[in-house]
């Protein structure tokens, strides 16, 4: 039996206990002296390193500059995925011919992990921005397309009938009926898409970049500086979380507006 929700105090106590235990274990493991501090820093050393990175450049840039670089790539790839994915998804939902043509091609390419595009990205774009953008696109595109398609395809039939009755053209039906109807599904897809895009970005930057948080982590790894690597991980996690939170806000607002 799950039982009732914990009393606030107890929950707080347990949460704190859990965090403390985790940090304590970590710190103890670092102090035990089994390995060098560079190899396994204490949590505080990681935080300190993060602070350093914010002011002191490492691998060419400060942490902030690296993040900016990463975000730029992410934005480009994500926006591209949205600009291609939404119209294509709508077209596929409305025109059966487009659906029949695109679906097999999409399904074939879909199972290629975005990261597997890295070699071609490197081949085609070198260390230019095109490489990471391509990989982010490959990660962000499928959820946008699928969610747009599903949202538009499964529109309640009565809206389509009303639109037909009111004499709407194909363009008008797509933009004024399918698209608005699909918005909740699209926004949900955008959240997933942003998550996958951000993850793909990290992967791309591990290999084909000369700046960005992933690149910083690789350099940190080469210098055997765990604290640097962990700082990168924390930064990536935080930014990814912020992006998701922002999109969730958008999602909630749209749901409220629709009275869903």
């Amino acid at each position: 039996m799950i039982g009732p929700a914990l009393e606030r105090n107890e929950m707080l106590r347990l949460t704190v206990a859990g965090s403390v235990a985790f940090l304590a274990l970590w710190t103890l493991a670092a102090w035990a002296g089994l390995t060098s501090r560079q190899f396994l820093p204490t949590p505080w050393e990681v935080v300190a390193r993060m602070g350093e990175l914010i002011v002191q450049p490492f691998a060419g840039f400060t942490l902030g500059a690296h993040l900016l670089s990463s975000l730029q790539r992410f934005a480009m790839g994500f926006v591209l995925a949205v600009l291609v994915g939404i119209p294509l998804g709508l077209a596929m939902a409305y025109f059966r011919g487009v659906d029949r043509l695109v679906t097999p091609l999409f399904e074939a390419v879909r199972f290629v992990a975005p990261i597997a595009w890295v070699p071609f990205a490197a081949l085609w774009f070198g260390t230019g921005i095109g490489g990471p953008v391509l990989i982010i696109f490959m990660g962000a595109f499928p959820p946008v397309l699928i969610n747009t398609y599903r949202g538009a395809k499964f529109v309640d039939r009565k809206y389509i009938e009303a639109a037909r009755m009111l004499g709407a053209s194909a363009l008008r039906t797509i933009t004024q009926v399918l698209l608005p109807a699909a918005v909740p599904s699209i926004v949900a897809g955008l959240r997933i898409s942003a998550g996958l895009g951000w993850q793909s970005l990290v992967g791309a930057e591990l290999i084909v970049a000369s700046s960005g948080v992933g690149y910083m982590m690789v350099k940190g790894q080469a210098a055997v500086s765990t604290a640097t690597v962990m700082s990168g991980m924390i930064a990536i996690g935080l930014v990814g979380l912020l992006i998701d939170v922002a999109l969730r806000r958008v999602q909630r607002r749209i749901e409220r507006q629709r009275g869903l």
Binding site: E161, A162, A163, L166, S169, Q176, P180, A181, R258
Partner: protein
Amino acid sequence: MANIRFRQVGRVFRQGGQAFVALDGVDLEVADREFVAIVGPSGCGKTTCLRMAAGLEHPTSGSVSVDDVPVKAPGPDRAVVFQQFALFPWKSVWDNIEFGLLSLGVAADERRRRIEHYIGLMGLTGYEQAFPHQLSGGMQQRVAIARAYVLDPKVLLMDEPFGALDAQTRVVMQEELVRLARQHPRTVLFITHAVEEAVYLADRVVVMSRRPGRIREVIDVRTIRRSERWDDLPRIEDVMDQASFVHLRTHIWKLLREQQGSEAH
């Protein structure tokens, strides 16, 4: 001149290898500006008739024509009022009503004139910027009716438009529809399973049999309405209280009751 003509209309559904005859040899003409209601047991095909006139479905035999032109596809000349309203949730009341006019290419000032006219007529003043989910069922259906009328359609097709409303709202809407119909007479095909509604609103009431749907009887209400002067009575309750009304209603009930008893084949 816009009439609706059903000539020997038949509709056969195929599902999983079996054939179901939904409609069988329906012959009906709705004259210009006539208000015809179709009543019948569930599944008798009355909604199918309306949808064929709308162009949302097609007969497997026979033909349906509006204004002597065979019906091929839906269009604003045959405006539909749906039971589930089918207003676009993402558009305001004004934009919903305007949608069809934009497709028709009506000029901006003419659009504004028409929309304002029907908003006033349907009691929607003040709600122009509201969204459907903020409105009650009755209000939403008013918007749907306004949306249909504003198109200035040849015929009006109403598919159990008050079926999703509660009883009190329903009565109010019936009164309003009568008022509207008198003010803007139009050819109307009205589907309902509420007998009183049909008798109150229609010039003629078509009673259909259960599946396979055929016309059982067509009752002329207009003559009685005129001779008994129902229109002079102030409220709907007064009309429904009339002996002549009750008589018609009971007659139709009996017809429908027969359908319940008989076995479907």
